[in-house]
């Protein structure tokens, strides 16, 4: 094992990470607040988390991929306990008979953006500056490692009552989603999980790199702008190469659950430059397609983020409400998601929309936006 340079993540970085991860959650993934509380405590107890670059991994290193699975609403009651996610990782080590070099989150967006840090704090290993989505997505097969055709098993699931489950083998990522979802529901619709372990090579080839630092950077920009009473959204767009799609007021929210997901749409009536116009956003846990005058102007996997117009903080699909003043922005998606194979997993058709993916950031189509 080579000695890789590590950077210590300080508590202020974590406060920023919570804000940035919520924005990268593109409306889903649950609020990172409970993870932030756990990390404040761990840091108060003297724990520290180190960050390592994915490029510094050795090819045969093992990397744990963690996520808190289940309904965000259940998490609001049972809360998040940092030790649970660490136990899920230990189960993988016991099952595989090896030690992990580092840990990473399956998704940087939303509450899962802080799960890797909680595991790392307890296990005394660094986190990798990478994830498998670069944002949040509703389903387990919507990851860069699934796009890469990597092995979907084994997956460990832990419940603090002492229930430990391992899905040892499945033929596909879709089956992993189905089998593990059943176990998760029995555990109370919340489970700490450690997904199929990855090698250092796999993380270098298929991980989405530098997303932890991106979330910290985004959160810091927004917090800094709030402190200075500057425009946090302008700062975000400039830093991340994003695009402002629409500014307005939420005038309609329609939600429904189908097949265990939160689906629906919101309508935003324009103000300022967008006065007289209307934007509709369709969602499945996360914002998926933005429609203007019946025309799709932005779609997954481009990141569609709905932000409070003044504070720049994210607005979630579960919490968006009538009358909120919001600005809708798009951020560029990681290239692996916009590749032809990537679009099969996370493009508009993967969510049931008969649309050819056109990126907001594609110069040729920008005239229509």
């Amino acid at each position: 094992m080579s000695a890789a340079p590590l950077t210590e993540i300080n508590l202020d970085d974590i406060e920023s990470l919570a804000v940035g991860a919520w924005i990268l959650g593109t409306g889903g993934g649950g609020s990172p607040y409970l993870g932030l509380l756990n990390l404040r405590q761990l840091y108060a107890q003297g724990h520290r988390v180190q960050l390592m670059s994915p490029l510094d991994l050795d090819d045969d290193d093992r990397v744990a991929v963690v996520s808190n699975m289940g309904a965000p609403l259940v998490g609001q009651e049972r809360l998040a306990d940092s030790r649970n996610i660490a136990r899920a990782v230990e189960m993988q080590q016991e099952f595989g008979g090896f030690k992990f070099r580092a840990v990473m989150s399956v998704e940087i967006g939303g509450g899962n953006g802080t799960q890797a840090l909680m595991a790392a704090a307890h296990l005394g290993i660094p986190i990798v500056d990478a994830d498998c989505m670069g944002r949040a997505f509703p389903e387990a097969q919507m990851t860069s490692v699934a796009i890469g055709g990597l092995k979907p098993y084994p997956c460990t699931l832990y419940d603090p009552r002492g229930i430990e489950a391992i899905v040892t083998k499945v033929p596909s990522w879709k089956w992993m989603e189905r089998a593990s979802r059943k176990i998760c529901v029995e555990m109370g619709s919340i489970a700490s999980t450690s997904k199929a372990p990855r090698t250092g090579r796999e993380v270098k080839d298929w991980g989405i790199h530098f997303t932890t630092t991106a979330a910290i950077r985004i959160g810091r920009l927004v917090r800094e702008a709030n402190r200075l009473h500057a425009d946090p959204i302008a700062a975000l767009l400039e830093s991340e190469g994003g695009k402002r799609l629409f500014t307005g007021k939420v005038v309609d929210v329609a939600r429904r659950t189908t097949e265990g997901f939160l689906r629906g749409s919101i309508a935003i009536e324009g103000i300022d430059d967008d006065r007289g116009s209307r934007l509709e956003l369709s969602f499945q846990n996360e914002w998926i397609v933005a429609w203007r005058e019946g025309k799709a102007i932005a779609m997954s996997p481009d990141l569609i983020c709905v932000l409070e117009s003044v504070s720049g903080h994210a607005v979630g699909t579960e919490t968006v409400r009538y009358g909120q003043r919001v600005t809708v922005v798009a951020l560029p998606a990681p290239p692996v998601l916009t590749s032809p194979r990537g679009l099969e997993f996370v493009g508009p058709r993967a969510f049931g929309y008969d649309l050819d993916f056109r990126s907001v950031f594609d110069e040729r189509s920008s005239a229509g936006v």
């Binding site: 405590q41 009651e77 659950t257």
Partner: protein
Amino acid sequence: MRRIGIDVGGTNTDAVLLDGDKVVFTVKRPTTMDVTSGILDALKALRADPAARLPVDAVVIGTTHFINAVVQRRHLMKVAAIRIGMPASASLPPFCDWPQDLAERVRGEIFMLEGGHDYDGRPIMPFDTAGMRAAARHIRDLGLRSVAVSSIFSPLDPSCEIAARDILQEICPDVAVTLSHDLGRIGLLERENAALLNAVLSDLAVETVAAFRNATAESGIDAPLFLTQNDGTVMQAETAIAFPVMSFASGPTNSMRGAAHLSGLEDAMVVDVGGTTSDIGQLRHGFPREANAVVEVGGVRTLFRMPDLLSIGLGGGSHIDRASAKVGPLSVGYRLTQDALVFGGTQLTATDIAVAAGLLDIGDHSRIARISSDLIGAALADATRQLEENVDRMKTEAGDAPLVAVGGGAFLVPEKLAGVSQIIRVPFGDCANAVGAAIARVSGEADQIFRDLTRDEAIAAALQIAERKAINAGADPDSLKTIEIEDMPIAYLPGNSLRVRVRVAGTLDRIETSREVA
């Protein structure tokens, strides 16, 4: 029905007498340190009117006393916190997200016990009654006199919290017990925080309600006493002793409800212009629209039912910057009658501008004779711009809406505002708070997850629960109206899980005053 409404604010104690829907008499007196004598003064002045000597059916008090105690860290007691739901939630114990100074002041002891429920009603673990008995003995030995109990998913199944209370009542019967499911919705930390805040106010609630009762009795009024709560409805004085936090936001709520009553409008925008700030809100069905997000009280995250208000630094005492003609956000506040130019002071305020513009006739006009008409025009234009922008921010629908302007600084609201169909000024608008208290209604709420029901069935079931709660709290069953229905499918949960929140309210049934509150 004749009612007295009293608003105990930070500066003034206002009292109004309503006969039916009609305001008969109003008085304004300074709020006193002991609260009681200010109320007594106001009531005495009120009783000086012959009409007010006739019997009254109810006295309804709105107060910011309890929220101020938390914000100012005064009169708070040490409490025990009991969390039921181990091993879940273990790493985030009670008080974990409180400001340190407040936590240190009120944290007595923390007990974390096995028990609680999952979203589907199954127990997480069997309730640890032996542990609960040990905790109760420990609380008794420590001499703690107030306890907050919170159990995981107690809004769906409160049985663990109720069992805990029974044990506490057996072992330490003098302890005040707050159960979280009585106060909040889904969201353990926020609900537990509400229960803890309630517990720390227990002594103050007993004392304050006793002071209110004394003041009413001493002024010779023989009528049941009610306090208004955050959502513009009343609770009996007995309930207020048990749940002081339910009155946290009653001040602004009452002013909006008063504005609705005085204007006769159920759906309108409201601006309450005070000395330092203007509070802008929206009336829907005669009630203020509630904030949906997390509300912080004294730095503590809660999920109280609070009106969605936008406060801007625009009021009668706002400083005027002579160079830019900007109004506010600084204000002379309660020193208006000393510091404003027309009162002999040296600070140019919004009140001075209003007098100079002929909108208001108070104080010494000669002291503002040299203010240029350009500055007057520019300052009024700035106030107009601020009001237009922020009223529009609070609107939930496009199109013009009527705006009811109340409060002592309502003269700053011009006759025309963009986005506003009509500016409505009402008599007694400066006592809108006390009027709102007098007309407060009785409500009931349900907030639960329903499974395997159609949306209509789930809403009907929730309405039934809410109506029962309202009737138990003293509402006339025939007057019940649905105030709010909100439904929310729950992602990832199987079986078409739907979270439904409904609220109903009705007029206070004047005969029944001693019913039990559910």
